[in-house]
């Protein structure tokens, strides 16, 4: 419905902003570095410091900040490989939850 459109846009923007912020916190990125993250920016498997413990913390923080639940089965290499993949997953999760 057209009346819901602005709300959906806000939610998508919020999802991306939260995701960028959590990645900034986990990777210790400066604001300008966070802004440079694009769809193809590599994450798990590309950044040596992003090990399973760091990713676990990242997923838990995303859950807490966006009030979603990420199941073990949701987590796979594709979803975590790039910023775009993770963003698509979280956006979808927020719509279905």
């Amino acid at each position: 419905m057209a009346t819901n459109l602005p709300v959906k846009i806000d939610k998508a923007e919020e999802t991306e902003a939260v995701l960028r912020q959590v990645l900034a916190d986990v990777l210790g990125l400066a604001p300008e570095q966070v802004a440079e993250l694009d769809e193809d920016s590599g994450l798990f498997g590309h950044l040596p410091e992003l090990d399973s413990m760091a990713v676990a913390g990242l997923l838990t923080e995303i859950e807490d900040r966006l009030d979603i639940l990420i199941e073990d089965d949701d987590v796979d290499g594709e979803m975590l490989e790039t910023f775009g993949g993770l963003l698509a997953f979280v956006t979808d999760k927020r719509q279905t939850d």
Binding site: D25, V26, E49, S52, M53, A56, G57, T60, V75
Partner: protein
């Protein structure tokens, strides 16, 4: 100053970092637990330095199995650490307690204090179990959090590089914050990114300064 304190338990004395000038205000700092303890060690020590500059004494004890302790982690229990926290409060004559993340679970509850970004037992296990599932999958092993937790409660489990005993896992799974006069302090009150989230341990002098200022105000 690095010294020892008479930590109850079989392992004998454990190390403690003290800033003791004999002042009336004596803050016992309970260190963050497990991996977060490593990530927040530098920050915690910097908070002690910032408190010292404000004329406030503070004490950071090791519990058995933690930090420099030679006691095996597998033999530790949350209940034993709670007893050790009580003993440390008494030994150092604490007038205030600052807990960091999951050490809020060890708060003796009889002394005023602040709980910095408290994390409950389920929260501790959640991230460690999730990391275990992920590293299992990288190794081609299909595991899930629920089954790992059930197995851990019976047999103990290696989580986040720590050998945790069955009792520790069972007690963590059920652990809630003890009732106390302490107030909670969210990371948003400190500002900046949470240092326990960092993939590589890091430090932020501004955050340490801010927490010391808040603690200083709380103790009057």
């Amino acid at each position: 100053m690095l010294g020892t304190w008479p930590c109850p338990g079989d392992a004998g004395p454990e190390l403690a970092l003290s800033c003791d000038s004999g002042s009336d205000t004596r803050i016992l700092i309970l260190p963050a637990l497990f991996e977060e303890g490593n990530k927040l060690r530098h920050f915690t020590v910097e908070v002690m330095r910032a408190l010292k500059q404000r004329g406030i004494d503070s004490f950071l004890p090791d519990f058995s199995g933690c930090n420099e302790s030679i006691a095996p982690m597998a033999a530790q229990t949350l209940v034993a650490w709670q007893e050790q926290a009580r003993a440390a409060a008494e030994h150092f004559g604490a007038t205030f307690i600052l807990t960091v993340r999951a050490s809020a679970l060890l708060d003796p509850g009889n002394i005023a204090g602040l709980r910095y970004a408290p994390l409950d037992g389920a929260g501790v296990l959640k991230s460690m179990l999730r990391a275990r599932v992920m590293s299992d999958r990288e190794a081609g092993i299909n595991s899930d959090r629920e089954a790992l937790l059930e197995d851990g409660k019976r047999n103990g489990l290696r989580l986040g590089g720590y050998e945790l005993g069955a009792q520790m896992i069972t007690q963590l799974a059920e652990a809630e914050f003890p009732h106390s006069a302490a107030t909670s302090l969210a990371q948003s009150a400190i500002g900046g990114g949470a240092l326990w989230l960092r993939a590589e341990p890091s430090h932020d002098a501004e955050q340490a300064e801010k927490l010391a200022a808040i603690v200083s105000e709380a103790v009057g």
